[in-house]
């Protein structure tokens, strides 16, 4: 399952420009199917429903962005897909099917093999995730060595060559392999973290706020490199973050999380031009623009504590469109178009999915 030498799948920058989202290779094959996924934390004060009954599908080659404010459960969801939830948290319900295999049923050993080779995580603050006393080359190839089958072996030269290839693909010079993390800038470290993420050619890359501490030009370069790598691998991407601008620039599909629930899913262009859920509407309205000066509008109020969720819709107390039904019942998902779902009673008439 290991390819010691990575063939040249990397597009040159020029090619990348022409393919960039133009004719994006989104196939009709389901790559990731998440169904009814719930992650609960059992605490002394009760159960915290960090992720509650979340379902969505990612096609092969698709870029899916998961947005929401701090504490909405987006990082927990990403960690749950990797099966990296630590006690007292646990996956309470649901399935995560990647390439027709339910990850939640794998043994710990099988899951360990699946990580990096089938799905990989470029973690939040990836620049701080590198080991400060290990050369970049070791960190790049550690995963490869770990995933070798018992009867496989790989020479030092091959590993070294692989590390150099990986660095070139993420836009770094091969000599970076000999350096330590402190010798690199934030953007360069982020590139190294991406190189580790693609080292075993996964079919799903989960990127959790990959550019949150970087400035705009570097952010753009990193996101465009990530997109190029993804297209080279024919992989799908799940981007986790709260920067709506980045999502608009990068993603094909967007999922909006609020208080542990996925409240709206749809194609990025449709959701931005015609948001349905009142929370999504406010989120998009509150974005500052370069076109006109206006007063800052935030969303009034704070999200509910996940341990004391209201009986009805979690957004009810902040919602400008609430009505009687919202207080007592949690809205299910209603379909409002092709691959477009909203969890809000305003759209109940349009047919449940």
């Amino acid at each position: 399952m290991v390819q010691p030498t990575i063939e040249e799948t990397c597009l040159s920058t020029e090619q990348a420009i022409t393919t960039y989202r133009e004719g994006a290779r989104i196939t009709d094959v389901d790559s990731l199917v998440v169904e009814g996924l719930s992650v609960y934390y059992e605490t002394e004060d009760g159960t915290v429903k960090a992720v509650d009954d979340v379902s969505f599908t990612l096609k092969q080659g698709e870029r899916f962005a998961l947005v929401g404010e701090s504490g909405s459960g987006k990082t927990t969801l990403a960690m749950a897909l990797m099966r990296l939830i630590r006690p007292p948290g646990h996956i309470a319900r649901g399935s995560v099917t990647l390439n027709n295999r339910d990850l939640t049923t794998l043994t710990e050993d099988e899951m360990r093999q699946a990580r990096l080779s089938e799905l990989s995580l470029v973690p939040q603050g990836a620049m701080n995730s590198l080991n400060p006393v290990m050369r970049i080359e070791r960190q790049l190839t550690d995963g490869i060595v770990d995933h070798l089958a018992d009867d496989e072996s790989i020479t030092k030269e091959e590993l070294s060559q692989t590390a150099r290839d990986l660095l070139t693909r993420v836009g770094l010079r091969p000599e970076v392999a000999r350096l330590y993390p402190h010798e690199l800038s934030g953007g360069m470290k982020q590139r190294v973290a991406m190189a580790i993420g693609i080292s075993l050619r996964p079919s799903l890359i989960i990127a959790d706020e990959p550019t949150s501490a970087l400035d705009v030009v570097v952010q753009r370069q990193i996101m465009q490199t990530l997109g190029r790598l993804q297209e080279g691998l024919d992989a799908s991407i799940m981007l986790v973050g709260h920067d709506m601008g980045l999502v608009a620039q990068f993603a094909d599909t967007i999922g909006v999380m609020y208080a542990g629930k996925l409240v709206e899913v749809g194609p990025v262009e449709e959701v931005f031009s015609d948001p349905k859920h009142p929370y999504t509407k406010l989120l998009i309205q509150s974005l500052p623009s370069l076109q006109e000066k206006k007063d800052f509008v935030g969303i009034p109020g704070l999200p509910p504590l996940l341990i004391h969720l209201p009986q009805g819709c979690a957004f009810e107390d902040r919602c400008p469109s609430r009505f009687g039904k919202c207080t007592g019942t949690v809205p299910e998902k209603f379909s409002v178009g092709a691959r477009r779902d909203v969890a809000c009673f305003l759209y109940e008439g349009e047919g449940a999915s």
Partner: protein
């Protein structure tokens, strides 16, 4: 017009080319002249990428870095020659707000501590009751409810609330200038609005000058009057935000603005821009510092260092493309600035 702080041809370098320095010198701030005015309090943005020198510029303005070359003046006096009393006044009148609303707190103390300390330190209150009133006023000024804020530990408050307490802390000292270094970059997008709004109110209602250091040009455009853009220590473009953001002239500013992830899926980024080459040290560059990444580069750019050229009444660019516009006679980049009030007065007199 009375100048509160003036930088007069200030340069700050790190490292040394002397006997023991490996020969690598970083010019963090390169020959900058500017004025922070007291009578016309404005919000000024300092923009640029990591390593552009914007934080060094802030530290110079805070008085925590000493210029390698040039002078800093505080109320017309050379900063290096201030008396103890004057320096103390300066420390009260110029207040920083930092990026990380988590690290500014000691987790073992209640949030009251950060508000008590400056009052005690500068002996601002005569009695306990007066202290309490001052703290409550400052919290209300930034939109916090004192009863819901005081007596709590930092972890019990949201990032947005913590950052607003930092704004309140700065307020207690009745400063003339607030230096806010990326005050919202660590805060959720939905909470940014409230913090920026409280900063804007300080300027409008209390007449405090604000220097807003950021790489986020969208919020800069929304909140500030003027902007200066830095690249490798040089101010490459400056002027009113309306001029600079709506019609950027320097190729670097153009790249910055083009790279802003606009929340519009129909208007996506163009091709991937080249990376900065940190191999070239600052002292190696004889021409324009942006030449190696510039899409509009000309042969001369590699050898000739551009001066500040005046593009319009309220905009300058340090780029040879605008050489024919003529070099600025006044090196003070803030001479291109204008506050909203001045703009209104100017429009009325026309």
């Amino acid at each position: 017009m009375s100048a509160f702080i003036e930088l007069d041809h200030v340069t700050k370098t790190f490292g040394s080319s002397g006997l023991f320095g490996g020969g690598s010198v970083t010019i963090a701030v390169d020959d900058v002249s500017l004025t922070i005015d007291e009578d016309e309090p404005a919000i000024t943005t300092v923009a640029g990428e990591s390593g552009s020198g914007k934080t060094t510029l802030t530290r110079l303005l805070l008085g925590s870095h000493v210029p390698t070359d040039g002078r800093m003046l505080y109320r017309g006096k050379d900063f290096a020659k201030l008396t103890r009393r004057e320096r103390r006044a300066f420390q009260r009148e110029v207040q920083p707000i930092f990026q990380d609303p988590f690290e500014s707190y000691n987790p073992f103390y209640k949030v009251d501590h950060v508000l008590d300390a400056p009052i005690k330190n500068f002996k601002l209150a005569g009695s306990v009751a007066e202290k309490k009133r001052m703290i409550e006023d400052a919290l209300e000024m930034v939109g916090l409810v004192p009863e819901e804020t005081l007596g709590r530990f930092p972890h019990q408050l949201s990032g947005g609330q913590r950052q607003r307490i930092m704004v309140a802390r700065a307020l207690l000292l009745k400063p003339r200038v607030i230096l806010a270094d990326e005050p919202v970059s660590m805060v959720d997008a939905s909470l940014r609005a409230t913090i920026l709004d409280s900063i804007r109110r300080l300027n409008r209602d209390l007449g405090i000058s604000v220097v807003y250091i950021t790489h986020d040009l969208t919020t800069a455009y929304q909140i500030s009057d003027n902007i200066l853009v830095m690249y490798r220590g040089t101010i490459v473009e400056a002027g009113t935000v309306d001029a600079v953001i709506q019609s950027p002239q320097h190729p670097y500013t153009q790249l910055l603005i083009e790279s802003i992830p606009q929340p519009d899926p129909k208007n996506r980024w163009g091709s991937e821009p080249p990376q900065q080459n940190w191999e070239i040290t600052d002292t190696d560059i004889t021409g324009c510092k942006f030449a190696d990444r510039c899409p509009a580069v000309m042969d001369r750019c590699h050898t000739v260092r551009p001066a500040q050229y005046l593009i319009g009444e309220h905009q300058l660019a340090t780029c040879l493309l605008y050489e024919d516009k003529g070099e600025m006679t006044n090196p003070d980049i803030t001479s291109t600035f204008q506050t909203e009030k001045q703009a209104i007065t100017a429009a009325a007199s026309n």
